[in-house]
C-alpha cells in the first residue's frame, strides 16, 4: 500500500486515516481479484465453478478487519475476500483456483473449498450451511481452553434455510459460545428470490429465538458493516455469547459464471449497482479531504500489480503429480496437524 497517501494538509497520516485507506485498498484488491477471476474463467484458464462476490466486498472487509490473529473463519462460497483479508497469499489463492500444486488444497478441490488452517480459514464443503456447526465447534474449543479468540461463520440467506444452521445457532445460544454468524443476504439463492425462501424480511429476526441478538446493516456500506462489527465482536469476544449480523447486499454477477441471471430484473441490478460499496467509500474519503483521484490511481496500480503477480505465479506453478490423487487422505496418528502459528500476516500493513 503506497505510503505517500494521506489526507490533504496532513504531514503525518493518523492511524485512523491509515486504517481507512487500508480498508479501501482491501476492497479494491478484492474487487480487482474478483474481476480478474471472472475474466480468467471466460478465458478457460480457471475450470470449474466460479462464484463471484463482486458487489459484496464491504461485508468481508468490514467483518474481517476487526478480527484478531487466531480467530477462526468459515467463509461462504463467494467469500474470496475472506482469504485475502485473513492474510492468505493472493498467489496461493489464484493457484488454488487453477488447480495447481501450489494451491491451498494442492489441486484436490476447486475454488474456495481449499482452506488454510495456518490462517484459521476453514475450507467449507459445498454443502451450504454445514460449516456453521463446525464454526460452533471451534468456538466451543475457544471457550473450553479460555482462548481469547472467536469463530466467524459466513452464510447466505439461502443457506439459512438448512437444518444445520438451526442446530448450530441453537447450540451456540445454549452455551453462549464466542461465535459470530454473518448472513450475507443478497436476496437470491441461485434463482430463488427471498420471498420464496422465507416468510420474513430479516434473517436476523431469528437470532432472538436462539437467545442472542440479531443486527441488520447495509452490506454495501463499509462504515455501517464496520460499525456494527466492531461493536458486536468485542461483546462476543468478552464472552457475552453469540451474535448474528445480517448484511443486506446484492450480487452483481450470476449465481456462477455460467448463469446469465435472466430471472432478475435489469432495473433491480442497476439500482444495486448504484449502491456500490466502493464509490460510496470513495465519497466518504473525498469528503474527509483526501485527493481521491490520486489515491485511486495509486491503489489501482498496486492492486493490478498484486493480481498480476498472483496470476503469473499461478500460471507458472506446476499441476499436481497424478499419484498425489491418493495422498492427503489420512493423517498418521502421531503427525496430526493442528495449526501452530498464531500469526495472520496481512500483506499490506495496517
Amino acid at each position: 500500500m503506497p505510503e505517500t497517501i494521506g489526507a490533504r494538509g496532513e504531514a503525518e497520516p493518523s492511524p485512523r486515516i491509515e486504517y481507512e485507506l487500508q480498508l479501501y485498498y482491501w476492497m479494491k484488491l478484492i474487487r480487482a481479484f474478483e474481476e480478474r477471476v471472472s475474466r480468467l474463467h471466460r478465458q478457460n484458464k480457471i475450470l470449474g465453478g466460479v462464484y463471484s462476490g463482486a458487489g459484496q466486498e464491504a461485508i468481508v472487509t468490514g467483518i474481517c478487519a476487526p478480527l484478531k490473529d487466531g480467530d477462526f473463519v468459515a467463509p461462504l462460497h463467494r467469500d474470496m475476500g475472506v482469504f485475502i483479508m485473513r492474510g492468505v497469499e493472493p498467489s496461493r489463492l489464484m493457484a488454488q483456483l487453477m488447480g495447481k500444486e501450489t494451491g491451498l488444497s494442492r489441486g484436490k478441490d476447486s475454488f474456495l473449498h481449499g482452506g488454510d488452517m495456518e490462517h484459521f480459514v476453514f475450507g467449507s464443503t459445498s454443502m451450504l450451511g454445514s460449516s456453521l456447526p463446525v464454526a460452533v465447534g471451534a468456538a466451543l474449543k475457544f471457550k473450553m481452553k479460555r482462548d481469547p479468540n472467536i469463530a466467524v461463520a459466513f452464510f447466505g440467506e439461502g443457506a439459512s434455510s438448512r437444518g444445520d444452521v438451526h442446530e448450530a445457532m441453537n447450540f451456540a445460544g445454549v452455551h453462549k459460545l464466542p461465535v459470530l454468524f454473518v448472513c450475507e443476504n443478497n436476496r437470491y439463492a441461485y434463482s430463488t428470490p427471498l420471498e420464496k425462501q422465507m416468510a420474513i424480511e430479516d434473517v436476523a429476526d431469528r437470532a432472538e429465538a436462539y437467545g442472542f441478538k440479531g443486527h441488520v446493516c447495509s452490506g454495501n456500506d463499509l462504515l455501517a458493516v464496520l460499525e456494527v462489527t466492531e461493536r458486536v465482536v468485542d461483546k462476543v469476544r468478552a464472552g457475552e455469547g453469540p451474535a448474528l449480523i445480517e448484511c443486506k447486499t446484492y450480487r452483481y454477477r450470476g449465481h456462477s459464471e455460467h448463469d446469465a441471471a435472466l430471472y432478475r430484473d435489469k432495473e433491480e441490478l442497476i439500482e444495486w449497482e448504484s449502491r456500490d460499496p466502493i464509490p460510496r467509500f470513495e465519497f466518504y474519503l473525498e469528503k474527509k479531504g483526501h485527493d481521491i483521484k490520486r489515491i485511486r490511481e495509486q491503489i489501482d496500480e498496486k492492486t493490478n500489480q498484486v493480481v498480476q503477480q498472483a496470476v503469473d505465479y499461478a500460471e507458472q506453478s506446476p499441476l499436481p503429480d497424478p499419484k498425489e490423487a491418493l495422498e492427503d487422505l489420512y493423517a498418521s496418528p502421531a503427525a496430526s496437524v493442528t495449526p501452530s502459528s498464531n500469526s495472520n500476516s496481512n500483506h499490506g500493513a495496517r
Binding site: 484436490k108 482452506g115 464443503t125 454443502m127 463446525v134 465447534g137 474449543k141 473450553m144 442446530e167 447450540f171
Partner: protein
C-alpha cells in the same frame, strides 16, 4: 477382572480423558444420565460439565461441532444415541470430516471419534436395529471399526481416540451386557486395520465382525464336534481400512470362504470381500465365496419377523455345511 463390553467402553473413556485433557464427550443425554446405555456413566462426576456435554437433539451439530473442535487440536468423542440416527449427521461425516484433510492439502487433521450403538436383536425394530456401517466403509478419509469382544471394545476405542483421523466406532448393542471377559487393567490399545484370527482351522474360512462373531464361533464349534470340520474364524475388527492381507491369507489357506454379517446382504461389506478374494485369490479357491447376512429388508419388529430376517447360528451352520460339501 470380568467386565462387560459396555463397561470396557466406559473404562476406555475414563482412561483416555484422564490421559489427555483434550479428549471430551458430546452427545444427547451423555452427562447426567451417563448415556442411554450408560457408556458415559461417571464421566460427568470425574471430569465436569465442560468436558462432558449434553447437547440438544442435533446430530449434525454434534458431529459438526466435533469437527470444529478437532480441527483446532481437540479430541472429541461424540455419541450418536443410536447408530440409526447417524443418517442425520451423514453429511457432516462423509462430506465435512472425511474430505477435510484432502481439501486442506494435507495441512489439517480431524481427530474425531463418532460412537454409534448399532445392531439388532434387542427388539429395536426398524429404527433402533440398524447396522449402517456399509454407508461409511466406502468413504476415503474415514476409518470404521466394529469391535466384537470386550478387549477390543476398550483397545479399539483407545486407538480411535488417539488416531489423527475421523473414526466411526460401531458398538453392538446386543453385546453391551451379554458378553463378559476378563479384561486386563491399565493401558493397552488394539491397532486399527488389523484383523484377528479367533479360531484356527484348515477346512473353511469364516470372515465376520461385530455382532455375528459370537454366533459364528458357536457354529464353528458345533461343526467341529459334529462334522469334524475345522473352521477358521477371522474377526475383521476394522472395516475401513480393511485388513486385506488377513482376508486373502485365510482364503488361500482354506480355499473356501463364508462371510457373515448382520448388516443386510446387498451392498454389505461381504460383497467387497468376495470381490477382493475373487480378484486376488481365485486360483486358491475350491468353491464359491458365500455370504450369510440379514435379508434384504428392514429389521422388522415382531419376533418371528425379526428372527427370519437376522442371521443366526442355524443359518451359519447350514451355510458352513453346504460350502464344506461343495
Amino acid at each position: 477382572m470380568e467386565q462387560t463390553y459396555i463397561k470396557a467402553i466406559n473404562i476406555a473413556l475414563h482412561e483416555e480423558m484422564r490421559r489427555d485433557e483434550n479428549v471430551f464427550i458430546m452427545g444427547e443425554d451423555v452427562a447426567d444420565l451417563g448415556g442411554a446405555f450408560k457408556a458415559t456413566e461417571g464421566l460427568l462426576a470425574a471430569f465436569g460439565e465442560e468436558r462432558v456435554i449434553d447437547t440438544p437433539i442435533s446430530e449434525a451439530l454434534i458431529v459438526g461441532a466435533g469437527i470444529g473442535a478437532a480441527v483446532l487440536g481437540m479430541r472429541p468423542v461424540v455419541e450418536m444415541q443410536f447408530a440409526d440416527f447417524i443418517s442425520c449427521a451423514f453429511d457432516q461425516i462423509v462430506n465435512m470430516a472425511a474430505t477435510l484433510r484432502y481439501r486442506h492439502g494435507g495441512k489439517a487433521a480431524c481427530p474425531l471419534v463418532v460412537r454409534a450403538p448399532s445392531g439388532a436383536g434387542v427388539h429395536g425394530a426398524l429404527f433402533h436395529s440398524q447396522n449402517p456401517e456399509a454407508w461409511f466403509t466406502r468413504v476415503p478419509g474415514l476409518k470404521v471399526v466394529a469391535p466384537a469382544t470386550v478387549y477390543d471394545a476398550k483397545g479399539l476405542l483407545k486407538s480411535a481416540i488417539r488416531d489423527g483421523n475421523p473414526v466411526v466406532y460401531f458398538e453392538h448393542k446386543r453385546l453391551y451386557r451379554s458378553i463378559k471377559e476378563d479384561l486386563p487393567e491399565g493401558d493397552f490399545t488394539v491397532p486399527i486395520g488389523v484383523a484377528e484370527i479367533r479360531k484356527e482351522g484348515g477346512d473353511l474360512s469364516l470372515i465376520t465382525y461385530g455382532g455375528t462373531l459370537g454366533p459364528s464361533l458357536d457354529a464353528a464349534r458345533i461343526v467341529e464336534k459334529e462334522d469334524g470340520l475345522a473352521v477358521e474364524v477371522l474377526d475383521l475388527r476394522t472395516l475401513l481400512p480393511l485388513d486385506r492381507e488377513a482376508v486373502l491369507a485365510t482364503a488361500r489357506k482354506t480355499g473356501k470362504v463364508l462371510i457373515v454379517h448382520e448388516d443386510r446382504l446387498t451392498g454389505g461389506i461381504g460383497g467387497e470381500i468376495a470381490a477382493l478374494i475373487s480378484e486376488h485369490a481365485f486360483e486358491d479357491l475350491d468353491g464359491p465365496v458365500r455370504r450369510v447376512a440379514a435379508l434384504d429388508t428392514h429389521v422388522a419388529f415382531s419376533p418371528p419377523l425379526e428372527q427370519t430376517i437376522l442371521p443366526d447360528t442355524n443359518r451359519i451352520l447350514e451355510a458352513i455345511r453346504g460350502l464344506a460339501a461343495y
